[in-house]
Structures are given as structure tokens and as C-alpha cells.
């Protein structure tokens, strides 16, 4: 009897993980194509129309908090993510594999970064690894860092990539400001 329950528990956990991945992927598609409708739909709603009132109120509350946190992040981190496309490729009780496609900019340097994150639960610890890192940087003087970017891609060093992008774009910004400053002085 015990074994039967244990087997079913194991099977249910795996099924739940798969269903969560499926749900998330559908939700992502809906957000991508129809996310802009949310605002106008909320406008159409009237208090008494809202069925599942409690669920909706709770969700809206959480969403508001998350939007505030996101705005703060963008202010503090110099990296501005304008687009984030995520897909859950694999999900089980102990392992999650997700693909990320990010677009954004840091100062005047814009980028397109793709990568895959694999998270595995091993006893008490969560192991997280990056694979398939792909970077495209658009902006002036990107030739300066192209060899560094190739190395970063080879070693899948995601964190190093963004630290490099940050300092590189900050330097570009300073250089361009200094240049402007002297240009103005020259003219006058």
C-alpha cells in the first residue's frame, strides 16, 4: 500500500513539473502577442463583473509589487532589458532547462543575448549552469571587444559578459562625452 502511494507521488510530482512548464509556455505566448490587451480589458471591467474577485485582487497586488521592483532594478542596474523571451524546454522534479533571448541596451550599446540555463537540484544544493551563450553587440567601436566577446561565448561566462558590457559601454559614454566637450571648445 505504501509503495503504491509512493509511486503515485513520484509520478504526480513529475506530471506537475511538466504541466507547470506547459502552462508557463502558453502564458508566455499569450503575453507576447496579446499582452497589450490587459490594460484595456481592465478598463472595461466593472467591480461586479469580476468573478474570481479574490484571485484577481491578489494577482493584481502581486503584479503591482513586481512592476515596482522591476522599475527599481532598471534604475539601479545600468543594464536595461527591453525584451525578454523565455521558454521552458524541460522541467522535471529535479531539473529545469530554460532558454532565454534577451534584448536591451546599456547606455548607447545595444545587445542581443541568447543562452540556456540548466538548474539541477542535488540534495540540498541548486546547481545552475549556462550553455549555448550567443552575443550580438551593436554600437560604435564594438571591434574593441569582439575578441573578448568570443572568449566569453566560448566559456559561457554570462555574468562576466554583462560586467564587461557595463564597463565597456560606460567607457564609450565617457569617451563620447569628452569628445563632445572638446568639439564644443574647438568651435568656440
Amino acid at each position: 500500500m505504501e509503495e503504491q502511494y509512493e509511486a503515485e507521488i513520484q509520478q504526480l510530482c513529475e506530471e506537475i513539473a511538466m504541466l507547470e512548464a506547459e502552462k508557463e509556455n502558453y502564458e508566455r505566448e499569450v503575453s507576447l502577442h496579446y499582452g497589450q490587451y490587459l490594460h484595456s480589458m481592465l478598463g472595461v471591467m466593472v467591480e461586479d463583473d469580476l468573478r474570481n474577485k479574490q484571485d484577481i485582487a491578489k494577482l493584481m497586488d502581486e503584479i503591482e509589487k513586481m512592476e515596482k521592483n522591476l522599475a527599481r532594478q532598471i534604475r539601479l542596474n545600468k543594464i536595461n532589458l527591453t525584451g525578454c523571451c523565455t521558454k521552458t524546454i524541460e522541467k522535471s522534479k529535479t531539473k529545469v532547462v530554460q532558454q532565454y533571448q534577451l534584448t536591451g541596451h546599456c547606455y548607447h550599446v545595444s545587445f542581443n543575448v541568447d543562452f540556456i540555463i540548466t538548474e539541477e537540484q542535488e540534495d540540498d544544493t541548486l546547481m545552475r549552469k549556462v550553455t549555448n551563450l550567443n552575443v550580438v553587440v551593436d554600437g560604435q567601436d564594438f571591434t574593441d571587444i569582439s575578441s573578448l566577446l568570443s572568449r566569453v561565448e566560448e566559456t559561457n561566462s554570462l555574468l562576466l559578459l554583462f560586467k564587461t558590457l557595463e564597463s565597456f559601454s560606460e567607457n564609450c559614454e565617457h569617451r563620447s562625452k569628452t569628445f563632445q566637450h572638446f568639439k564644443v571648445r574647438q568651435v568656440s
Binding site: 502558453y26 508566455r28 490587459l38 471591467m45 484577481i56 493584481m60 532589458l81 545552475r128 561566462s157
Partner: protein
């Protein structure tokens, strides 16, 4: 116990029945969770189908309002997942994960670290913003000079303070991970000495073909924000060994490559065991 229907007095029997009961409860709760997910997937599929067919919230009519009311919950759930993804992406690329607590009086930040493709520990800071900026709580290891770093620019330039702190913890996490890799991948090399800041690393290796000769590599990391050593010294029980040119040149290897990679190079060249 009797009230729950556990008739027996035998403690073993009781334990068994308790365990069975727990398993049954867990199974039922998981079944409910699974069924709820299936219903939510159905809901989002129907929402997508309706929107694909061209439903628009802008058209008038009472029927429209009723439909909107049906679609609102799945659309909100989709937005929630979208935001969750964005916040996670920010975390993965090294963002500070700023979260306000206690009505804005305090903020929590996280500092993520990694060594190449492997994500390492995340460290946390909680700052009190009521009277200037003060560190309320943290889990930064004591070997990092947090107080002196804070004295420098915590009040005046928060981004710069965080940047410097991040460099310190990143370098520490990298060095610790490199020691871990040595212990995992190079079992024949002995880590003789290291400290909590990982600013000193002493490694003992055996020379190939000579059971009795060992060489000691002492790596000093004088720069706390670098993951590579600034100084390498060699010692051996064979006093003449460190001065031999083939061993002298290994010093530069350790200055350019992380220790586990330098050791692998030496091992592949057949110099050490």
C-alpha cells in the same frame, strides 16, 4: 489516537498507520494540484484561441464585457509569469534584485557570483534607509572588509559601493570554486594550506617518475578583487629543483591560468602526477 480510527496499541503498527495516512494526504494534495494545473492550462488555451480569432476588448457590447471577465484571470496570470521571467533574467545577468521592505524603509539586495558557466553563491545585503544609508543585515563572509568599504562610499555613491563589493565577493567565490575544482578533479594534488579569503593557496604535487620528490606551489593573491594570483613561489625537498628552468617557467603558468587549469597543463605534459 483512537478517535482517528487507529485501533492498535502496538507502537510499530501505529507508526505504520501514521505514515500511510501522511502518504495518502500528500497524494490527494498533489492530485488536486495536478488537476488545478490542467484546468489552468485549459483556461489559457481557450484564452489564446479567443484572442487568435480576433477578439478585441475595444469593441462595445455587454457580451464583450462578459467575455472580458472570462479572459481577465488568464491574462493576469500571463502577465505575472512575464514579470517573473523578467525579474529572473535580471538576476541571471547580475542584477542587484532590489526589493523594498517595510514600506520603503529598508531595501534588500543580492549579489550573484559565477565562475565562467557555473553560477555560484548569491550574497545578500539589507540596507536601512531611514537615516542615511546603513547596513542592517548581511551574509557577506567576515573576511571581506565590508565596514571599511562601507565607510568609503556607502553614503555618497551607492552604485559604486555595490560595484566594489560585488568585485570582492565575485573574486572570493571564484577562488573558492577553483579550490573546489582542484579537490574534485586533481585528487593527486594536495591542498596543503588555504585561508577563508583564499588569498593564500599552497599546493603539493608529486613529480612524475620520482616517488620521493614533491614540489610545493605557493600562490599569493595580493589583490582581493582578482581571481588570479599575484605571486608564485616554488619549493621542493629536492633543493635544486625550483631553480631548474623547466620548473621556473611553471611560475608564469600559475600567474596566467587558474590553478586547476595550470595543474592540468602540467599533468598533461607529464611533469606532475
Amino acid at each position: 489516537m483512537r478517535a482517528l480510527g487507529f485501533q492498535s496499541d502496538d507502537p510499530e503498527e501505529l507508526k505504520k498507520k501514521e505514515r500511510l495516512h501522511r502518504l495518502k494526504c500528500r497524494t490527494l494534495s498533489l492530485r488536486m494540484q495536478r488537476n488545478k494545473l490542467k484546468a489552468q492550462i485549459q483556461m489559457i488555451k481557450e484564452t489564446k484561441a479567443a484572442l487568435d480569432e480576433g477578439f478585441s476588448p475595444d469593441s462595445n457590447g455587454g457580451e464583450n464585457r462578459a467575455k472580458c471577465s472570462q479572459l481577465i484571470l488568464p491574462l493576469l496570470m500571463a502577465r505575472h509569469t512575464e514579470l517573473k521571467d523578467m525579474l529572473k533574467a535580471h538576476h541571471l545577468i547580475g542584477g542587484y534584485d532590489l526589493v523594498e521592505v517595510d514600506g520603503g524603509r529598508r531595501v534588500c539586495l543580492s549579489l550573484s557570483t559565477a565562475y565562467k558557466d557555473t553560477c555560484l553563491d548569491t550574497y545578500h545585503l539589507e540596507l536601512d534607509l531611514t537615516r542615511g544609508v546603513r547596513i542592517h543585515r548581511h551574509d557577506i563572509p567576515p573576511c571581506i572588509p565590508l565596514t571599511s568599504l562601507a565607510q568609503e562610499n556607502l553614503q555618497t555613491d551607492l552604485p559604486a559601493f555595490l560595484n566594489t563589493l560585488r568585485q570582492h565577493v565575485s573574486a572570493l567565490a571564484s577562488r573558492l570554486h577553483q579550490v573546489k575544482l582542484i579537490k574534485e578533479r586533481l585528487k593527486t594534488v594536495r591542498v596543503m594550506e588555504t585561508n577563508s579569503l583564499c588569498s593564500v593557496l599552497v599546493l603539493m604535487c608529486k613529480i612524475t617518475g620520482d616517488e620521493d620528490t614533491a614540489i610545493l606551489f605557493s600562490l599569493l593573491y595580493r589583490d582581493p578583487i582578482r581571481a588570479l594570483p599575484t605571486q608564485v613561489t616554488l619549493e621542493s625537498n629536492d633543493k635544486s629543483l625550483p631553480d631548474e628552468p623547466q620548473w621556473k617557467e611553471t611560475k608564469s603558468l600559475f600567474l596566467e591560468l587558474p590553478p586547476h587549469q595550470a595543474l592540468l597543463v602540467l599533468k598533461n605534459k607529464g611533469k606532475i602526477m
